[in-house]
Amino acid sequence: MTEHDDDLTTQLTRSLTDRSDVMSGTSFGLAEVKGRARSLRRRRMATAVVGAAAAVAVIIPTVALASHTGGSNNEPAPITQTPSPTQAATDDGHQPSPGVLDVSDLPTGEAPSIEYVTAGKVLHQVDGSTVDIPTRQPVSSFAVLSNGTHVWQTADDQGHAWIEVEDAAGHLQAPLPSSFGLSVTRSHDAAAWVQPNGQVMVMSVGATEPLAYGDPVPAGDDLRMGPFLGDDCGGPADSCEVYVNVSQRAAPQPWVVSVNGTEPARDGGYLFLADATESGLSVGYTKLTDSGSCSRLLGGGEFQGFQTCQHTLTSLSPDGRLILADPAYHDGIGNGVIAMYDLEGNRLFDRHSTEDAQSFYPGAEWEDDTHVLAPVFQAGQWSIVRVASDSSMEYAVPPVAGEDVANPFVLSVGGLVLGD
């Protein structure tokens, strides 16, 4: 460090100390803290004891929302029978109590049937083999296209995201700037991301390199990818839609990008569009408060749709029949609640972490129509847990030691690649 740097850091320390002095004394006491703690505990635990019991969410008429884009007659029928259970476990272990997210001693099932990455640099393929990833920085997210192309999203030391495309032959293209988040069509024939300047980029199986798609969305404080709908994106019959959630000061708004233009996606009144299907189903949140949020499913046809303020509806299963949900209030290091709904608003299960377990997961991906995979941290260990729609859980990857802030697992987005 130079003498000039010494002066600079001394001045910085002095200035920060001076500025921090505006906060003097204390602002609250034990009673306020205990009140806040009770509120937190209620949020975490309230429904744990009844989590396994199916509950009907608040059904709201959505006639007023009938202008929702993409409504069609081919939406899936409601589930009428119990979804298939997980595969047989291969060792001992037990299920925690109904409603409890405790992954300390689960049975071990089969390895994930979608690709995943460990330590940001090793790809675990579906056949069990591993391959070193050639990207310059560790992988933070990735999508696999149906022709074997991998779209890697990486994070550098400065906290910036990049996209590196690797074709099936292992040729890696130069990094492109990106915001965090990646989306893939259900057929895995194209992946999309958004650049910090709001320009959506698409890599499709028919292209040799990523192409700019549509006009840019506004470059807000935060850009998050929403769903990517359609087939043959970038081709002559392109009718695809890429949704980007733009958060500008006090005005979160999803935008839709297509070859026809770029415009706010106002149907449904979403503040954040989390997922959608070509058949007209969509989920996202519609209300945010300091203590929670409300999410909505729009059905577009046979289904009335429903709204819940108990959870955040995050994604639709590959067949569009189930909805994965996590806490209505997202705070701190990860999610301590995982739940699943059907399209009529029936809650299939609702598992909550406990004070003893202190488990959490940063996010989950659908493995197939009735199972999700989630990297879960508990008691100094990370594992990939498979959660079935009947609420049973098992290890897809057994626990390994790790830090709570350093999730070693990255699951491919968009679930199973067709043809696998």
Partner: protein, 196 residues
């Protein structure tokens, strides 16, 4: 004594639990009183305003309260609560909600936050603060932990859950920004040299 005899075992158990809870609360209250002022100052530097700082610290203490027995036994309370504080602050959702809550009153409130400057300060503190407030959230956390809390690079990395290399690069980048954007104020000698 009239009335039924007291069930000594049950009453004692209840009294013991109450006593243990009171002792626990007293323990926590002592920690709260001792550490709240300093955490509020750190939170202020992270958030940039009084209201968010108080909210952040109260939330961190509430989470600490829920885990008090475990954390206290491990003897790492300060590190734990600081980690909660920073993680809460970095939470995307929290940021989104907080942005929505801000109102025009914030401008009035922030005007009350201006510290008293000695005359020799010559606006230097404001210049540095302006730059710090424009840093990306995580870089700002690095700056606050490194140059206000005066943590080592390794300690900062541990609290933020990032590598030491990232701490180094973000601190270096922040200093470069400071040097570039507030150079006249930060290096009075440069001004003198320029004047010659």
């Amino acid at each position: 004594m009239d009335g039924p005899p007291e069930d000594g075992t049950g009453a004692t158990a209840v009294a013991d639990r109450r006593s243990a809870r009171d002792a626990r609360d007293a323990d926590f209250a002592a920690y709260l009183a001792a550490r709240q002022p300093s955490l509020l100052r750190t939170a202020y530097l992270l958030t940039g305003n009084r209201h968010d700082a108080e909210d952040l610290v109260q939330s961190a203490f509430a989470k600490l309260y829920l885990s008090w027995d475990k954390v206290r036994d491990h003897g790492s309370i300060d590190g734990y609560v600081r980690r909660i504080l920073v993680n809460e602050h970095n939470s995307l959702w929290r940021r989104a909600w907080k942005r929505r809550e801000h109102t025009a009153d914030d401008a009035v409130l922030s005007s009350l936050d201006k510290p008293h400057h000695d005359t020799y300060d010559d606006g230097l503190g404001d210049a540095v603060w302006d730059v710090v407030q424009t840093l990306p959230r995580k870089a700002r956390a690095v700056v606050v932990l490194r140059y206000y809390e005066e943590m080592s690079e390794a300690e900062t990395a541990a609290v933020l859950g990032i590598s030491v290399g990232t701490v180094k690069s973000q601190a270096s980048r922040a200093l470069a920004t400071l040097r570039e954007r507030a150079s006249q104020n930060l290096n009075p000698r440069a001004s003198e040299e320029d004047d010659r």
